[in-house]
Symmetry: C2
Subunit: 317 residues, 2 copies
């Protein structure tokens, strides 16, 4: 490892040039990396903007995830927020902090992961900053355009149905496995390493008339609480008929864990949770998991009221 080229050898400016090398030309990006700011074309429609920060040791470990995994995961957190408004991500701006002894290849691969995840939804990396920091940290700001009105957390109405698109509990199961020293089943461990949010489902939900939407980053119940509170409603989740995905049921029985615990409280898969009018045609890949009721804010699961503190929170030890 002593021969490995680190950021100390490469330096700030050479690193930036390697990170931005070969960025695909996007006609909406009038000025890309290399000036004081990027300059982006806009259509005149409102834009969505959001920021998510990933910190080594908190959100990922370098011995559990590859650099590409971490880049993809960091981008996905912000890109999923754009989808959860019904928007289409257009660009990313990244603040990247790292120790001087970080292998340069790690930094370059990590930003390649960011670019890969962005390009999967048609977005570009347009700018950023690179600084020295005690641990690796990525602050990803995503910008997006809206196809119609933004789908807020606050629009759920009594009588609406509650539906979810994407995976629940996979990342949590993967993290539980890694924490116990296992590296398989690979599908679960990979789900912790990088999520696969159902990005396209966000604009589809908006077009189908979704009344409220959020991405599940803290856990299904915790994020359902955000809709319940913002909309002033009760959400009744019904888990009867839920299929427990095969790798999860195997892992859960090996560890004597109820897999529904992972599915109800695990975050970081960035599923999309939305409410739709009862008369709406629920678009694929959403599946109905409950109903919106007057009253609340309240969340029930199979008729049992849930605490609001189920999800992950920072600073809580």
């Amino acid at each position: 490892m002593a021969d490995e080229v680190t950021l100390r050898d490469t330096g700030e400016f050479a690193l930036i040039s390697r990170i931005t090398d070969g960025l695909a030309a996007d006609p909406r990006v009038l000025v890309g990396p290399g000036d004081d700011t990027a300059i982006l074309e806009t259509s005149g429609s409102p834009i969505a903007v959001t920021c998510d920060v990933l910190v080594e040791g908190r959100h990922f470990r370098r011995d559990w995830s590859t650099a590409i995994d971490v880049g993809r995961k960091a981008a996905a957190a912000s890109l999923a927020d754009i989808a959860a408004m019904g928007g289409q991500a257009t660009s990313l701006v990244v603040g990247f902090g790292a120790p001087a002894d970080l292998p340069t290849a790690w930094a370059v691969e990590c930003t390649a992961g960011l670019r890969e995840e962005a390009s999967a939804v048609g977005a570009s990396l347009v700018g950023g900053d690179v600084v020295e920091a005690p641990v690796v940290m990525l602050s990803v700001t995503a910008l997006g355009s809206l196809v119609g009105a933004a789908v807020l957390r606050s629009g759920a109405q009594p009588g609406d149905v509650l539906a979810v698109a994407g995976r629940l509990g996979w990342a949590a199961a993967g993290l539980a496995l890694l924490s116990r020293g296992f590296r398989s089943p690979k599908a679960l461990v990979d789900a912790h390493r990088f999520p696969e949010p159902p990005y396209a489902a966000g604009p589809l939900a908006a077009q189908a008339g979704a009344t409220a939407m959020i991405d599940v980053s803290d856990g299904l119940v915790a994020d359902a609480w955000h809709i319940a509170e913002a909309s002033g409603v009760a959400l009744d989740i019904d888990t009867t008929g839920w299929e427990v995905p095969e790798p999860m049921s195997a892992a859960a029985s090996a560890y004597h864990v109820d897999p529904r615990e992972w599915m109800l409280t695990g975050g970081e898969d960035h599923a999309l949770l939305a409410t739709f009018p009862a008369v709406a045609a629920i678009p694929e890949p959403f599946r109905v998991i409950g109903r919106v009721r007057a009253g609340g804010p309240e969340i029930t699961v199979d008729g049992i009221a849930q605490q609001s503190s189920g999800g992950f929170r920072h600073f809580s030890g």
Copy 2:
């Protein structure tokens, strides 16, 4: 200090609600903090977007700067980039990382400093993320609108004049004083704690026909290099006639330092360095400090060629 309320006591969501409490209503912000993303109105004109990261121990020390100072400094770094394109900042998105034992009051005051600096230029804090991190770090993304065409680094033409607006070397002098254990002269020490970029000079320069512009964040010579390289020109800086500001000349003679060293290599004051056609009326507060010449890329100071490695670079130890 044991009784002090920390982020561990306050928790993520209560901290966010204190940070965003009483945010001024801005009609351009259609959805502010509290949903998956902010939603911003746009005019259809291109937007400028940039990101700067400040890390405790690298860019500031909590025993040298107040929380408000740090917030102002973090915002200023990004807001000055928008000005350096000739733009007007409209909004900020902030990724905030901090240890769980950080006093909650520090975090709230720091973001108040961010909001204060943003509102000084008519911009709003519209969103962000709060995470646990080993040290305090702020990643500030600024968005801005352009009054006309963006002023890039690449447009300087032989025959143009080189001019600067704002302070040179004040922050570097302040840092030198603090590093030696002094807390005065206050004007210099304060300049390290929070810069006072000449924000309004950016759009003024654009309107006056500036051909290139950059904000001086790494040092006058280092940032002049960026213009010289991007434009493919030589910049001849003439320091004869430079007035050394009074607090700086006093401090420099006490420490047997040439104050021009601070003025030529000190960054973080976020002065604006621009080139204008020789026939242009140079707008206040710009002052002419040199000329653009064919050839290069090259920088001379009083006829002496300068190295390109004068400014601050990350990871260089």
